[in-house]
Amino acid sequence: MTSDITLRTIDICRFYRRGPQTVKAVDGVDIEVKKGEFAAIVGSSGSGKSTLLALLAGLDTPTSGVLEVDGISLQSLSRKELAAYRANRVGVVFQSFNLIPHYTALRNVEMGLYFNQTPYRERRRIAGDMLDRLGLGDRIDHRPADLSGGEQQRVALARALAKQPDILFADEPTGNLDEENSAQVASLFDELSGRGLTIVLVTHDMALARKHAHRLVRLSYGRVVTETGEVQS
C-alpha cells in the first residue's frame, strides 16, 4: 500500500524563532509523492517552497510532524544514516546553485559522486558524460565564475543527476534559463521521470508545472492551498 509512495509528510512544520517572533515557514503540510511521480511545488515568494524542499531532502529537520521516505521516518535516522540518504538516494539542485567556486565544472559535478563510493575513474567519466548531455561538454574546465547563470544552473543539475538518485529535488532549476533551455531541461525531466525517477520541482513557472508535472502543490504562507493530482492527463 505504501510501497509505491516514496515521500510522505504528516502535519509537518518548520518554524524559525527570531527573538519574540516566530516565522512559520512551513506550517502543517501533508503531502504524498509516489514513486516515479513528477511533483511540482508552486507558490509566491516566501511561501515556504525552499524550506519544504530542504526538509524533504533531509537537509533540515522539521519543528514538528512526521516525514517519511519509503515508510521510514527521517527523524528516526541517525545523522550518519541521514547523510547516507542524501548521498545515495537524493539529488538536490539549489535555487542559488551552490557550486564550489574554486572547482571546475567537471570537479563540481564529480563532487556529487564523492560520498556514494563511486570509484575515481568512474567519477570522471560519469561527470563528463553528464555535462555533455546538458550541453556543457566544452565548458568542463571552467570555473563557476566563468559560466553564465544558466550554465551554472545546468552544472548544478548535472551534479544532482550524476549519482543517479531515486529522488531529484530541484529548486527553480529553470529560473535562469531562457525558454529554449527551459524546455530542454523540462523534457530531460520528463525523460528521467519516464525512467522512474521521482522528481520534486519547485518553480514559479506555472505553465511549465502544468505542462510537465503529474502533481501540483500550491503553497501559501507555509500551507498547502491546493493540491492537484495527475494534472497531466
Binding site: 530542504a54 531532502a57 537537509l59 533540515d60 545523522r79 550518519k80 547523510a83 547516507a84 540518504y85 542524501r86 548521498a87 545515495n88 537524493v90 538536490v92 539549489f94 542559488s96 551552490n98 557550486l99 564550489i100 574554486h102 563532487m111 556529487g112 564523492y114 560520498f115 556514494n116 575515481y120 551534479r159
Partner: protein, 487 residues
C-alpha cells in the same frame, strides 16, 4: 571519500592558499628542523662514544684496582701483585689479565731526546680488542722482541706526520735508575770519615752519665747514614738502555676517555727497565724494603705491585658475576660497560632536554595550524554545507579537515627533517673545522639515525593532527542549512 580523495582535496586547498599554507608549513618546518638538528647532535655524540667504546674493546674490559680503605673495614686492602694476576686470570670469563706497569723512560729518536711514559704489556694483551686497532704496522710479536709500539700523537710530537714511515725505524729507550748498591757504596765511603770525626768530639763522661746523650748520638748517626744513602741512591744512577724497533703505531681515543701511554714495550724490556732498580721516588725503595724484595735477582720477575690490572673479558659471559668474583678476592672492579650504561642514562636526559626545545617550537607551530584551519573553516563554511548536502557525513568532513592539517604536518615534517639535517651538516662542518684548527681529529658529532627520522616525522604529523582535531570537529558540526544560507 577515499584516502586519495582526502589527500588531493587537501593539497588542492593548500595550493589555493599558497602564502598562508607556506607560512603555516614553515612553522612546522622550523620546529622539526630544530628538533632534528638538536637530536642529531645528541645522537651523533652517542654514536661517537659507542663507537669509541666498541673500538677500544671497553665493553669487554674490566679494570681491577686496590680497594679503597673504607670506614669500619679492618682488613688490609689486598694489593695487586703477580699472584693476583694468576688468581684473576683463573676467573671464568676472563680471557687475560695484564697489569698496568707504567714508568718514565727517556727516548732518543733522531736527534731528539724526550721523556715519556711507557707501559710494558705482554704480547697476548696486545691481541685483545683494546689494542687491536692499529694505525700502522703490527703489534709487538713476542715478549722478548726488541720492538716498541708508539702513539701517533707522540710521533707527531717528534715531527713525524706519516705514521707508515715510522715503521721499522729504531729508537733508543733508556731509564736511569737509582740502585740500592750505589746508595750503599756511597754510604760506606762516607762512614770512615764520619766515625773519625764523631769520635774526636765524643764526650766520654756524658756518654756514661747521661743516657740521653748516648741516644742522641745514635740517632744523629742513623740520620746521617740515611741521608748519605739517599743521596747516593738518587744521584748515582745506573743507565739501562735498549734499542727498539718501531713495529706499530696506535692511537688512543679522543677526549681523554682513556689516558694512553706514549709507548708500549715488550714485557721483557719492561722488566729490565722497571725492576732492575727503583725510580726516583724514594718511597718505592721503602715499599720494596718492607716487602722483602730489596735485592731482586737479575732478570727474574721480582715481587712487584701494580696500581691496576686490566681484564680482557669473554664478551659472551655477563660481567656481573665476574665483577662479583673480583670483589670477592678483595679488589675493586670497574667496568666500562657499567660506566657506559650510566653514560647512556645521561644521554637520555640530554636528548630529552634537546627534544624539549624542538617540542616547544612544535607547540608554537601547532597554534599556527589551529589558526589556519579555523580560518579555512570560516571561509569554507558554504563548501562544507554543499558537501553535507551531497551526502558527506560528519566523519567525512572531519577527515577532510584532519587530512589538511595532516598534509601540513607531513609536508612540514619531511621538509623539516631535510632542513634540520642540512643545519646539522653545516654545524658539523664548522665544528670539524674548529676541531682541526685546534689540532684535534675532526669528528662528526651529528648523526641522523633512522629512529630520529621516524620520531621527528611522527611527532610532526601527530602534533599537526592533534592541532587539526578541534577545527575539524567544529567543521563537522556545521549545520548545512545555515551554511548554505550564508552569503
Amino acid at each position: 571519500m577515499t584516502f586519495r580523495d582526502l589527500v588531493t582535496v587537501s593539497l588542492g586547498n593548500l595550493w589555493r592558499m599558497k602564502l598562508r599554507s607556506f607560512l603555516t608549513i614553515s612553522g612546522v618546518v622550523i620546529a622539526i628542523a630544530a628538533f632534528v638538528s638538536m637530536l642529531s647532535f645528541g645522537a651523533g655524540n652517542q654514536k661517537f662514544i659507542t663507537e669509541q667504546y666498541t673500538r677500544l674493546g671497553l665493553f669487554t674490559t674490566m679494570q681491577v684496582s686496590e680497594r679503597r680503605a673504607s670506614d669500619g673495614d679492618t682488613t688490609e686492602p689486598a694489593v695487586l701483585d703477580n699472584e693476583t694476576l694468576v688468581l684473576l686470570s683463573e676467573i671464568p670469563g676472563v680471557n687475560l689479565a695484564f697489569p698496568l706497569d707504567a714508568f718514565e723512560v727517556t727516548v732518543a729518536f733522531n736527534d731528539t731526546v724526550v721523556t715519556r711514559e711507557a707501559q710494558g704489556l705482554p704480547a697476548v694483551a696486545l691481541s685483545t680488542g683494546m689494542f687491536s686497532q692499529l694505525e700502522a704496522g703490527t703489534a709487538i710479536s713476542s715478549d722478548s722482541a726488541r720492538q716498541v709500539m708508539v702513539d701517533r700523537d707522540f710521533l707527531r710530537g717528534l715531527g713525524i706526520d706519516s705514521v707508515e714511515s715510522a715503521i721499522g725505524r729504531t729508537m733508543r729507550v733508556s731509564v736511569s735508575q737509582a740502585r740500592v748498591d750505589s746508595g750503599l757504596a756511597y754510604l760506606a765511603q762516607g762512614v770512615g770519615d764520619r766515625v773519625r770525626e764523631e769520635f774526636s768530639r765524643l764526650d766520654f763522661d756524658s756518654l756514661f752519665d747521661d743516657e740521653r746523650y748516648g741516644r742522641r748520638l745514635v740517632y744523629t748517626g742513623i740520620n746521617e747514614a740515611l741521608k748519605r744513602f739517599t743521596t747516593g741512591f738518587l744521584q748515582h744512577r745506573a743507565l739501562i738502555e735498549d734499542t727498539l724497533e718501531i713495529c706499530g703505531v696506535y692511537h688512543v681515543g679522543h677526549g681523554g676517555m682513556r689516558r694512553g701511554r706514549d709507548l708500549i714495550i715488550p714485557t721483557h724490556s719492561a722488566i729490565r727497565f722497571s725492576t732492575g732498580g727503583f725510580t726516583g721516588d724514594i718511597t718505592d725503595f721503602y715499599a720494596a724494603l718492607s716487602s722483602g724484595s730489596l735485592f731482586p735477582e737479575e732478570g727474574e720477575i721480582s715481587y712487584k705491585t701494580y696500581p691496576q690490572i686490566t681484564l680482557d673479558l669473554d664478551p659472551t659471559v655477563p660481567f656481573g658475576p665476574i665483577k662479583d668474583s673480583v670483589e670477592a678476592l678483595g679488589y675493586r672492579a670497574f667496568s666500562f660497560a657499567e660506566e657506559f650504561e650510566e653514560i647512556q642514562q645521561a644521554f637520555i636526559y640530554f636528548n630529552m632536554a634537546l627534544a624539549m626545545v624542538g617540542l616547544i617550537a612544535l607547540v608554537t607551530a601547532s597554534l599556527g595550524i589551529v589558526n589556519t584551519m579555523l580560518m579555512s573553516i570560516i571561509e569554507r563554511r558554504r563548501e562544507i554545507g554543499v558537501l553535507k548536502s551531497l551526502g558527506a557525513d560528519e566523519s567525512s568532513i572531519r577527515w577532510l579537515f584532519l587530512a589538511e592539517s595532516g598534509v601540513i604536518g607531513a609536508l612540514g615534517s619531511a621538509s623539516g627533517i631535510l632542513f634540520g639535517w642540512t643545519i646539522a651538516r653545516i654545524a658539523s662542518a664548522i665544528a670539524q673545522a674548529v676541531m682541526e684548527s685546534k689540532g684535534l681529529d675532526p669528528v662528526d658529532i651529528f648523526a641522523l639515525p633512522l629512529w630520529l627520522v621516524a620520531i621527528a616525522f611522527s611527532f610532526g604529523l601527530a602534533v599537526s593532527l592533534i592541532a587539526g582535531y578541534y577545527p575539524a570537529a567544529r567543521a563537522a558540526r556545521v549545520d548545512p542549512m545555515e551554511a548554505l544560507r550564508a552569503e
